[in-house]
Symmetry: C2
């Protein structure tokens, strides 16, 4: 990003945060030059860019003023209405081929499911890993047999305790990322052919676990702001034999909601009354935009039926692949399955993360990441609002780093995905989030990557493609 | 080990290698002092030790002479005779609790399934990992999506090609150790409830894969020197619906045999004629004592029915957990299951191993390891022969680092395991190697760790315990 682009973004952010109200005059070119310590020319460039973007307008002889920004077209507040039918799951080939195409380094990674790794404190973690490598002459594989490295387990338990979740360290089993934690948890409570209740849309990692074990998924109506519809779930439980439920109560991927404490408690209570275990995917627990980490279903678990899964892959280091499960009454079974599945989780990554947690700095890092994601959420919403045609609707993410976008008309997200990919832009097509090929006119956009002109150009191009495809649909 | 103990072992090795024949005179104390560059006193100490061990004898005025060494009581040459019945598998709790107790650092690790990590070139591998950490600011998880890091795959394919196995790099899928490779391979070809044919005894990693997926195992008579009885297998195939076969044709754990090329070809042919896939566990492929790496079943695979699994955990680095599968015609399915199971294998370990393989030095390292294991195999056989009571029988390992010991009478290896553990000595009880609680009077001993007085004392103690328990059995 050039200096003037950077300045323009800073000023736009100030406007979005309401420091300057609509119609208000922003600092003069001379004032801004002094404030920001840049040349007059840079400020002029930045103001011209903001004018072209519709953020500012000039009034002759008076200076630059804040224009009215378009309101973000929030999502319709109705819950999804999936048919109450259990179906086989076969979504992984689509997801894998999508991720593969996203891998291409030149493409704008709006379709990536992963957070921007450049925000991770990789330098510190690498230093720790190197120190461990020097300290130990060699590792004995057996030192980290399931449940895993004792010090790492202690550190994870400590963080939960600090967040009001009393955790017995003996309940924690370290896994290869949350992927393995979710897989083993599901395997511990259900068997091939069983039916599992999921949100609609649901994060495809959940669908993968169901597919891996040859189970069936039944999608439950899910409200974009409140989460899974507990009344609808109660009916499904009466009418189907549900072996387990899988949910993401905090910053659900792709919808971004947080379930209220009341709803979390009600959900856990409903499932407990039927002795149905629930697998809670809480991988975004640290990426909240509010004041504090939201509660987990685990907080309300009285019967040990909540199998809580999480990882450091979204908040600290993705390449280390360190996750964990707290499987309640299924702890012994999950530990055994971990041993059967991958024997141990690699040692050095476990010790390096434990060292990092012990030495402090994680909370400072997280505060920074949360601030960045919160800002970039606003920027992404503003860009999509500006560039996408009328009839587009957006989610309101409360944490995490993805935006869920409903395209107008019947624009096909797979067609958009293919066209955009040819132009070097990736998106997450909506069909990845359903066991029944639904959400065809939805896309998921990742906003964790640093905002730059390439991103902005990509969002603009996407908006133009969507507009063109919507017009064609109407003509058809 | 003190200097004189070291010297004693060196001389004993020379005797065992036949440099000095039985009845021959060994160098005088003065000559040995000059040859080995040690003091007269050290040689006297060493010779006294060898005398007390029964390796040398003194003849007045004549010096030290080689005594007749007891012959190693080799294994009976009959194949095992398991009943032809498929059974559920539930061996993992025993194995995990055994490994846990072995973890205790003070115990003599004769029961460990893992090679001594101090032999690994960990310093070099760590240096490479550190260099990678410095080179890359951060890793993108997506760079190593299944099938895995392309350069590592290329290096693995190159090694196979150099060993006469033409491998299409596109067939290789990187996994979290061979454990995951075996699990995914089995899952790709069979389903819960299916029956899988295994050797008898069989390596428990195979049994774990069967247990993990809720399948049934049927044990096939297995010859201690020739491997699985192919005629017996043919009969089982006629009488049972066999979904898959799992074998370890090279340096089988625990028996240590290598199947002949003729038998390998016949086995692959038999299974191919019934379209039965075979999972080949070849983790010890590099740890041969002979002139060259033995062939794999994969060499004889014409129909893509061999799912070949291996890893670097036994020969290069255990803590990195890098394995791979070459699943023949099941390649796409295994790749998909890898994606579902653990998403990716951690990147840095993959790149570090690829760098190590590219830079050379692996073959030199392997030559050293093979020599050490070959020597230590002879030492372990000599010690067990000396200290265990009559009626003990031993395997003849052709590679790897474990010895399979048949205890005399009906000595119970679980009882021996418990008693030895209380004395700080671990062993591998034989029941871990069967789905039907067989091999109760067998134990597995690991001889990869450097030989020292503690090891020798442990083998002596074990021998005394076995002798005592055998006497009790007779008295009962």
């Amino acid at each position: 990003m050039t200096l003037y682009e950077k300045l323009a973004f800073e000023i736009e952010e100030t406007v979005r945060r309401g420091v300057f109200a609509v119609g208000e005059r922003v600092p003069s070119v001379r004032q801004a030059s002094a404030q920001h310590g840049v040349s007059i020319k840079t400020v002029l460039h930045a103001y011209a860019l903001l004018e072209s973007r519709g953020v500012l307008e000039t009034r002759p002889q008076s200076g630059y003023f804040v224009r009215e920004l378009p309101a973000s077209p929030a999502f319709s507040q109705a819950a999804s209405q999936p048919p109450p039918v259990a179906s086989k799951v076969d979504v992984s080939r689509l997801v894998l081929s999508t991720l593969r195409s996203i891998r291409s380094q030149d493409a704008t990674p709006l379709g990536s499911p992963y957070p921007d790794p450049s925000l991770f404190p990789w330098r510190r973690i690498n230093q720790l890993a190197n120190a461990i490598a020097r300290r130990h002459s060699s590792w004995n594989l057996m030192d980290d047999l399931p449940p895993g490295n004792p010090e790492l387990i202690r550190q994870i338990a400590r963080r939960y305790a600090e967040n009001g979740v009393p955790v017995d360290p003996d309940e924690i089993v370290i896994t290869v990322g949350a992927t393995e934690a979710i897989n083993l948890s599901l395997q511990a409570v259900a068997k091939p052919g069983d039916t599992v209740a999921v949100e609609s849309p649901t994060y495809y990692a959940m669908l993968h676990a169901i597919e891996r074990l040859g189970m069936r998924a039944i999608e439950v109506p899910t409200h974009p702001a409140e989460g899974i519809d507990i009344d609808a779930l109660a009916i499904i439980i009466r009418e189907h034999r549900i072996a387990a439920c899988m949910v993401m109560p905090n910053f659900q991927n792709p919808l971004g909601f947080v379930m209220s404490d009341a709803n979390k408690e009600r959900l856990v209570g409903l499932l407990a009354s039927h002795e149905i275990p629930v697998i809670e995917n809480d991988v975004y627990q640290e990426l909240y935009y509010g004041e504090a980490r939201p509660s987990a279903l685990k907080n309300f678990d009285k019967k040990g039926l909540v199998l809580h899964c999480a990882s450091f892959s979204k908040s600290l280091t993705a390449s280390y692949r360190i996750g964990w499960a707290m499987p309640g009454r299924y702890r012994r079974e999950v530990e055994k399955l971990k041993f059967l599945n991958t024997l141990t989780t690699p040692s050095v990554p476990q010790i390096a993360v434990a060292d990092y947690l012990r030495q402090g700095g994680y909370d400072r890092h997280l505060r920074h990441v949360r601030k960045v994601y919160r800002q970039q959420a606003r920027l992404m919403i503003a860009m999509v609002t500006r560039f996408f045609p009328a009839g587009t609707h957006l989610s309101t993410p409360m944490g995490g780093y993805v935006l869920w976008v409903q395209l107008p008309g019947n624009v096909d997200s797979m067609q958009l995905y293919e066209t955009a990919l040819a132009l070097g832009i990736t998106i997450g097509p909506g069909t990845m989030f359903s066991s029944r090929d639904a959400f065809r006119h939805f896309i998921r956009l990742n906003y964790s990557y640093p905002w730059n002109v390439q991103t902005e150009a990509a969002v603009k191009t996407l908006g133009e493609l969507v507009a063109g495809m919507a017009r064609e649909k109407i003509r058809d």
